[in-house]
């Protein structure tokens, strides 16, 4: 095991290379640029390629192109770039090409605040492209260490499900310096729960079997298999076709290979839920760390509060939200996005509240005040804004 005091960017690069990534295409953007820089240093050392593209749209197209040619590939960006991935993201979903995408979220919309963490792409990561008829896989780390481990997992899932997988991080994870343990032996990797799978080649003639099965090798171009992939609705052999029946088969596969195999993907962390707490706090990514501290400290004072941290955001871990309680989501944005999913997943007689901060983490004191108000049955108000001078 190697140990480093390094950034999440470094951790992601280590994880990707460990998982077999041999091409990274990117476009500089704060706060994901350092991933590109780290890749430009590390990839050539293992025989891999770093390509700096003319824009984000090209970056993901280059990465997807190389993935279609049989390589394990990755790209990384932040919100303003992630939206420009919409086009190639759709191509990769439709052509069922495995690839890993990292989004280090910052404050938006648009350019917003470049060097501050946000969580504005919760829904955008679920619907990263147009047209519907698909499901997505999104994993959200809350530390540099986990960013490395989930990058490995993202490569694993992308191969098995032959689909792009997004690692939804934030600025604090990718930029923050932390203690990182990098496994070196297979035993160490297994002990960390890391899973690996090689790229396989679909030899056809059916490149798109009409089924929800996973572990079907993806289309790989350039192997002389007569492979076909396109942005149009495909037949089983890959020909373009304009029938609703064919599209039904295509969408069935894209939706249900993920929905029907949720157990391979879904993960979440629970804390203090065994004694049916009155209040359950929900957070993902970096704010979940402050929430965890606040929940632990509240427990020490005898407050019956628990916590759920979704690690797989999509599919959303509905199974974690069966308890009747008061729910509170804590997110790094003012509009509240995950709060709606929690509302949907929780029992209908459980009230769901929202606490938003933007560009900075909530403090433990703020969270304790919020817990107390909720447990006293008082309305929350827009706390983040009430404290502004204006």
């Amino acid at each position: 095991m190697k140990r480093f005091l390094e950034t999440g960017n470094f951790a992601v690069t280590e994880g990707a290379i460990m998982a077999g990534c041999r091409l990274f295409a990117g476009y500089p953007i704060t706060p994901a640029t350092e991933i590109a820089e780290a890749m430009s240093v590390e990839l050539p050392k293992v025989g891999g390629y770093y390509v700096q593209a003319e824009d984000e749209c090209a970056a993901m197209h280059i990465a997807v192109g190389a993935a279609a040619g049989g390589m394990k590939t990755m790209t990384a960006t932040s919100g303003p770039g992630f939206i420009l991935y919409a086009d190639p993201y759709g191509w990769a979903i439709g052509c069922e090409i495995p690839i890993v995408v990292l989004n280090s979220q910052r404050v938006g919309p648009v350019s917003g605040i470049t060097g501050a963490p946000g969580q504005g792409e919760f829904y955008n990561s679920r619907y990263p492209t147009q047209g519907g008829n698909y499901e997505t896989i999104v994993l959200a780390p809350n530390s540099a260490q986990e960013a490395m481990e989930l990058t490995v997992e993202a490569f694993y899932l992308s191969e098995r499900f032959r689909t792009p997988v997004t690692v939804l991080a934030d600025q604090l994870i990718t930029d923050g310096l932390e203690d990182i343990s990098v496994p070196e032996t297979d035993e160490e990797k297994t002990a960390m729960g890391m899973r690996f799978v090689e790229r396989k080649v679909n030899a056809g003639p059916d490149f798109y079997p009409p089924s929800d099965a996973i572990d079907i090798p993806p289309v790989v171009l350039g192997k002389g298999t007569g492979a076909m992939c396109s942005d149009w609705t495909p037949t089983e052999e890959g020909y373009d076709i304009e029938t609703v029946e064919a599209h039904h088969k295509h969408s069935y596969r894209m939706i249900y290979k993920i929905r029907n195999n949720r157990d391979v993907i879904t993960r979440y962390e629970e804390l203090f839920l065994d004694d049916d707490p009155e209040l359950i706090v929900v957070a993902y990514g970096t704010p979940s760390r402050t929430v965890k501290t606040a929940v632990k400290k509240a427990r020490e004072k005898g407050v019956k509060v628990g916590m759920i941290r979704p690690v797989s955001l999509w599919p959303f871990p509905d199974e974690a939200f069966t308890r009747k309680a008061i729910y509170l989501t804590v997110e790094l944005l003012y509009d509240g996005q995950m709060v709606r999913e929690v509302q949907r997943a929780t029992p209908c007689d459980s009230p769901v509240h929202f606490f938003g901060k933007c560009g900075e983490l909530p403090t433990v004191t703020e969270l304790h005040e919020t817990f107390d108000k909720l447990l006293r049955g008082e309305p929350l108000g827009r706390i983040g804004w009430e404290r502004e001078a204006w």
Partner: protein, 280 residues
């Protein structure tokens, strides 16, 4: 199905779904002819296309590996593919004028800058015909289309001393040419040269759209008129004089074949050098 089609194209896809009488078939056939004359087999070519008439009608026709990319982005996809597939396998792309000279121009210029091996055949039907007939970036001046009902009055990419091929040359392309689709033999010979360049090659080929363009610009879908109209507005480079209004100067514009390192080759060489340094 002729012998060439039988050898290289998928029976299920031929004839293609292009309107009957469309000139796209001439360009497509010339490409297959060039491939045959160079003795390439099915496994030597990875055929990419984009959307619009040129992409849709040529997708999946090649018996070997095929892909169709998003509009204007196939040059970026091809750059990624180029790094992943065997260096001896050629990437060929049949795209439209909107794809190459509009939405995809920036990506195309970067493919040219890096001299990535791909042979791009821009099948130019003079506008956006699969969406019904709007003007494009090579629509000749004065021509009426569904979105230029008063005649094309925006400057285009091939007239008035301005030529998109010059821009692509300045970007670094190593082979550039232009033809109209009825120039059968010269087009095949040019495509052979393009395919022999281990770098970025682009051949711009104007073909008659007898459905939308002919109806809007010439007032009739008569294919003979449309074919003659294209032929009459083209002349080989250096022979433009003679009273006719020339829209397309045809022939080889720039041939610097195999004079610059190819993208994937130089990336791979540099990577190997770095690996040697770090391990040595």
């Amino acid at each position: 199905m002729d012998k060439l089609s039988e050898k290289y194209l998928r029976a299920r896809k031929i004839p293609s779904t292009a309107c009957s009488g469309c000139g796209l078939g001439q360009a497509h056939k010339a490409f297959v002819q060039a491939i045959d004359e160079l003795n390439f087999g099915i496994d030597d070519i990875l055929w990419g296309t984009s959307i619009g008439c040129s992409g849709r009608q040529t997708f999946g026709t090649w018996k070997g590996d095929n892909f169709a990319g998003t509009h204007g982005r196939v040059y970026a996809i091809a750059r990624g593919l180029r790094l992943a597939i065997a260096p001896e396998m050629k990437i060929v792309l049949t795209v439209g004028d909107g794809d190459a000279f509009g939405i995809g121009l920036n990506h195309l210029l970067h493919a040219a800058r890096t001299n990535t091996q791909m042979t791009v055949l821009v099948c130019d039907n003079l506008g956006y015909q699969s969406t019904g007939g709007q003007y494009g970036w090579t629509t000749p001046p004065g021509v009426k289309t569904d979105s230029s009902p008063y005649g094309m009055y925006e400057p285009n990419w091939v007239q008035s001393g301005r030529d998109v091929l010059n821009i692509i040359q300045a970007a670094g392309a190593t082979f550039l040419a232009r033809h109209v689709s009825m120039e059968g033999r010269p087009l095949v010979d040019t495509l052979k040269k393009a395919l022999q360049n281990n770098g970025f090659s682009l051949v711009h080929c104007v073909f008659p759209c007898i459905t939308n363009f002919a109806k809007n610009a010439l007032g009739s879908r008569n294919s003979v008129n449309m074919f003659n109209w294209v032929r009459n507005h083209a002349a080989p480079l250096g022979q433009e004089a003679g009273g006719r209004e020339i829209f397309w100067r045809t022939g080889i514009y720039h041939d610097a074949s195999n004079t610059r390192a190819e993208f994937s080759q130089s990336v791979k060489e540099k990577t190997a050098e770095i690996q040697r340094e770090v391990s040595g």
